[in-house]
């Protein structure tokens, strides 16, 4: 759940993450792809670097650029969830499932014409694991905090050994772009890898294995990508990809301006593609009118915002807030919130009520057996009364045994849809007599208050970068850095956290998908019973593309459309 890796890691057997999408017109990719032409995308933020490995490389801008210009050994298809051959054409697996022998595709060259060899693969792994580089990708390429062992018996073969059994297996490799050793070796040797491929590097000079080459960058304005003439992938009929001659990305910071440009036809697709609910209406009119815009609905998002409570030891001793530590209190809150109210107001109906952090959008891993929290004020009131929180003075608000009003603070992000959800929560909890104060801050102030433990509850969310729970251990394990309600524990603080730890360890190493699903369903059940974090809704994802965009394969994970940029084509 935590944005660390930009890949979907789903077992090859997994079912499509987004099977049930509905479209209001026959899909545009029904027409025949033609080579040539260009499309315009929008990008909401400026890249801080073109180097995916360094800090700042995990921004959505750099991620999208890397998606267009680089390639990986294998690729996880964002729509079907299957592992597809990429730079590695085929592979074999050892009987214990831990050693993979990959054969590199023959005749692949970087965009500057230099042939790809196993040395480039070794180099890329060496850099990403180097503690001096402190790569943001390192953790996503480790199993139980240990790196993969990578060797190359010859220039066309790479052998990869996992340090421990790890169910997602080869899908890990989708995280690492294979870098051109001939270009970056010097900088790496000089200890300057951090500064290599920064935003002042002349565009066009950076070689890659992706479908496009970055050929222009006007800061604050646009990025231009041109076809990589040496790109290795061909379509079913043997045409060399990509279909498009070029893609340009216009930097548009304001989502309002982005929408206007979409309406005016000056952009074809959005890199951070999902629409805000309030923008839906105007685009829908366009889609139904002259059909200039094509809307694709993908169903519930896989990343959910959550309200978690400060369950650290330090918080437990704070006066007047001890109720937060009680599971009954958290369950009461979950019952007290009418999720449909959030759906119909904040999301204008375009959201799905949920009860846990794994949303129905994550078809492989969502468990229907996790506890449900239907809107039930009577039950909420009873649960609160059971822990001594009742209205003692008839003012309609609850008081604890000492007569102090039940009041807690929700920390959230200013000027964000999350803040709007919290505004609804506040009103709903007032109905059951709980007073909520909202502190809406800018992101870094918020993170600082979080780090200092200066909050009772917080409403925030993480962008899903992986659907597979084995890749979200930092959230599930009590030792994890994203175990937000009480992060980085040396020993599990509660029995149920210990139970989740054990289940996660088992499920990560389990052999079959059904076994893993069963174990993870247990995790979701234990989580739902203890409710350290409450989820309310998952937005429904809608993606807008102009009528000129053909071959789009929208997926729920970012970059939702550009992940398969080589197959986009222009409808004239």
């Amino acid at each position: 759940m935590v944005r660390r890796i930009a890949a979907v890691l789903v077992l090859s057997a997994a079912i499509a993450a987004c099977g049930g999408r509905s479209e209001d017109r026959p899909p545009a990719n029904a027409s025949v792809p033609v080579r040539g032409g260009s499309l315009v995308a929008s990008l909401r933020s400026e890249p801080a670097t073109f180097n995916r490995l360094v800090n700042g490389g995990n921004s959505s801008a750099t991620d999208a650029i890397t998606e267009l210009t680089q390639a990986t050994l294998v690729r996880v298809n964002r729509v079907t969830g299957t592992i597809e051959p990429a730079l590695a054409e085929r592979w074999s697996v050892s009987p214990d499932g831990r050693t993979f022998t990959l054969s590199l595709r023959k005749g692949v060259t970087f965009s500057d014409g230099v042939p790809l060899s196993a040395d480039d693969v070794l180099f890329s792994f060496a850099v990403v694991y180097d503690p001096k580089v402190a790569s943001v990708l390192a953790a996503s390429l480790e199993v139980r905090n240990k790196p993969l062992r990578v060797t190359a018996p010859d220039s066309e073969t790479v052998v990869i050994t996992l340090p421990a059994p790890f169910a997602p297996g080869l899908a890990l490799l989708d995280n690492l772009p294979i870098l051109p050793k001939h270009q970056l070796e010097a900088a790496y040797a000089a200890g300057k890898f951090q500064d290599a491929w920064n935003v002042s590097t002349p565009p066009g000079s950076m070689a890659g294995l992706g479908p496009f080459v970055l050929t222009g960058y006007e800061p604050g304005q646009r990025l231009t990508f041109t076809r990589n003439p040496h790109y290795w992938r061909r379509d079913a009929s043997g045409i060399q990809l990509p279909y498009l001659d070029s893609i340009s990305m216009e930097i548009v910071a304001s989502q309002d301006a982005e929408l206007l440009r979409m309406q005016a036809g000056s952009i074809d697709l959005m890199t951070q593609a999902d629409l805000r609910p309030q923008d839906y209406a105007s685009l829908k009119r366009l889609a139904q009118g002259d059909g200039a815009v094509h809307l694709t609905e993908l169903g519930p998002a896989v990343d959910a915002n959550m309200l978690w409570f400060n369950l650290t030891r330090a918080a437990a001793s704070r006066p007047g807030k001890s109720f937060v530590q009680r599971a009954e209190f958290r369950q009461a809150i979950s019952y007290a919130v009418d999720r449909d109210a959030i759906v119909s107001s904040v999301y204008l109906g375009a959201a799905t009520p949920i009860d846990g952090p794994v949303t129905p959008g994550n078809r492989t891993w969502y468990s229907d057996r996790a506890p449900k929290y239907p809107y039930d004020v009577a039950r909420a009131t009873a649960l609160l009364a059971a822990i001594g929180l009742v209205d003692r003075n008839g003012d309609g608000m609850l008081e604890d045994a000492s007569g102090a009003r039940v009041r807690f603070t929700i920390l959230t992000q200013a000027n964000h849809i999350r803040g709007r959800v919290v505004t609804v929560l506040q009103e709903q909890l007032r109905q059951v007599g709980i007073a909520v104060d909202i502190a809406a801050l800018d992101p870094r102030s918020m993170f600082q208050r979080f780090a200092a433990g200066d909050y009772d509850a917080m409403y925030y969310g993480f962008q899903a970068s992986s659907l597979d729970p084995a890749n979200n251990l930092d959230f599930w394990l009590s030792s994890g850095s994203a175990h937000v309600w009480n992060a980085g524990q040396t020993q599990p603080a509660t029995p149920w956290e210990r139970q989740i730890d054990d289940l996660m360890q088992q499920q990560m190493a389990a052999a079959s998908l059904t076994e893993r699903q069963r174990l993870f369903a247990d995790v979701q059940r234990v989580f739902g019973e203890n409710l350290p974090a409450i989820c309310f809704v998952a937005p429904n994802v809608a993606i807008a593309t102009s009528a000129r965009v053909g071959g789009a394969q929208p997926a729920l994970l970012d970059p939702k459309v550009l992940w398969a940029s080589d197959q986009l084509f222009l409808i004239r």
Partner: protein
């Protein structure tokens, strides 16, 4: 009616409206009718379709498509204009809250902050500007340089650092006081420069020289003779500053300095319009802007009394 009378009346009326209006609000401004986000304004009726008279009522709304914000009037259901009914005379916002009630409730807070801050800013400006313009020399230079420093130091930086040192939760009263003081403290320099320019010229006019000659103290000359000549300018500045301060509250909410939900203020209401291109689909959300226009029209009318003040010199 004389201009003085007119302006006094206008300002008194404004104060009255601002204090009394929230009492007239049809709804609790925090009340959310979640099923009716962005509902259009509903017309109040006294007679139904058959011309039967009723207590004031509105026809109920039926949601056709929330995502496309389509509503239909249900002529078969009459709703009384009461707190517990989803009747929105000026439409509803994205939470299904009554825009009219929020605009009325927000007037007191937003205009309160803006007027208090304007008062502080103009007093500082008059004082410092007059000192600079009158004294000249080193004092002038020092004040002018200081004004430039305050002008150029981005207020949002100060606000961000200040917010970090304050408790996580601020009450509305604390927000009100902080905003008024912060805005007042950063709002004076531009005005002070103008005041300085006027005083600099005025102090060489015959009347000022004459006042000296008869032995008036410098302080008396400034306050009794020179400052009145800046009143017209100050009035114009007030017209500029009041809406600017109302909007500044919205900007500062970005760093967590605005009024926290569910409190209604014009700044946060306008901020919400801006985040959604919503103005095109739901123009009634701009009600606070209309309120602001009315306010500065009143201010403009009020400022016409300046000639009366100048007559005293």
């Amino acid at each position: 009616m004389s201009t003085a009378r007119r302006s006094g009346l206008a300002l008194a009326l404004l104060a009255l409206v601002v204090t009394v209006a929230p009492l007239a609000a049809p709804h609790d401004p925090a009340r959310q009718f979640s099923r009716f986000p962005y509902a259009p304004p509903m017309r109040p009726h006294l007679f139904d379709d058959e011309w039967h008279a009723h207590a004031p009522f509105a026809y109920a709304l039926r949601v056709i498509d929330p995502l496309e914000r389509r509503y239909e009037e249900d002529r078969s259901r009459r709703l009384a204009i009461r707190d517990d009914q989803p009747v929105f005379l000026l439409g509803s916002d994205g939470f299904g809250r009554d825009v009219l009630s929020r605009t009325l409730a927000g007037a007191r807070l937003s205009l309160g902050v803006a007027f208090a801050a304007t008062g502080i800013a103009l007093s500082l400006a008059a004082l410092l500007g007059a000192l600079a313009g009158y004294a000249g020399g080193r004092l002038d230079a020092a004040i002018t340089r200081f004004a430039e420093f305050v002008l150029v130091l981005p207020a949002i930086y100060v606000a961000l650092a200040l917010r970090g040192s304050l408790p996580l939760v601020l009450s509305s009263g604390q927000v009100f006081a902080t905003l008024a003081v912060v805005f007042g403290a950063i709002g004076w320099p531009a005005t002070a420069r103008g005041v300085r320019g006027i005083i600099h010229v005025e102090r060489r006019q015959e009347y000022a020289e004459a006042a000296y000659a008869i032995g008036a103290s410098p302080w008396r000359v400034i306050v009794r003779h020179l400052l009145p000549s800046t009143f017209g300018f100050l009035a114009v500045q007030a017209i500029v500053l009041v809406p600017a301060f109302v909007l500044a509250e919205a900007t500062l909410s970005l760093v967590g300095f605005g009024f926290a939900p569910p409190v209604a203020s014009w700044g946060t209401m306008i901020e919400e319009v801006g985040t959604g291109a919503a103005a095109a689909d739901a123009p009634w959300l701009l009600a606070p802007v209309v309120g602001m226009m009315l306010t500065i029209v009143v201010l403009q009318v009020g400022s016409m009394s300046k000639s009366r003040l100048r007559d005293r010199k």
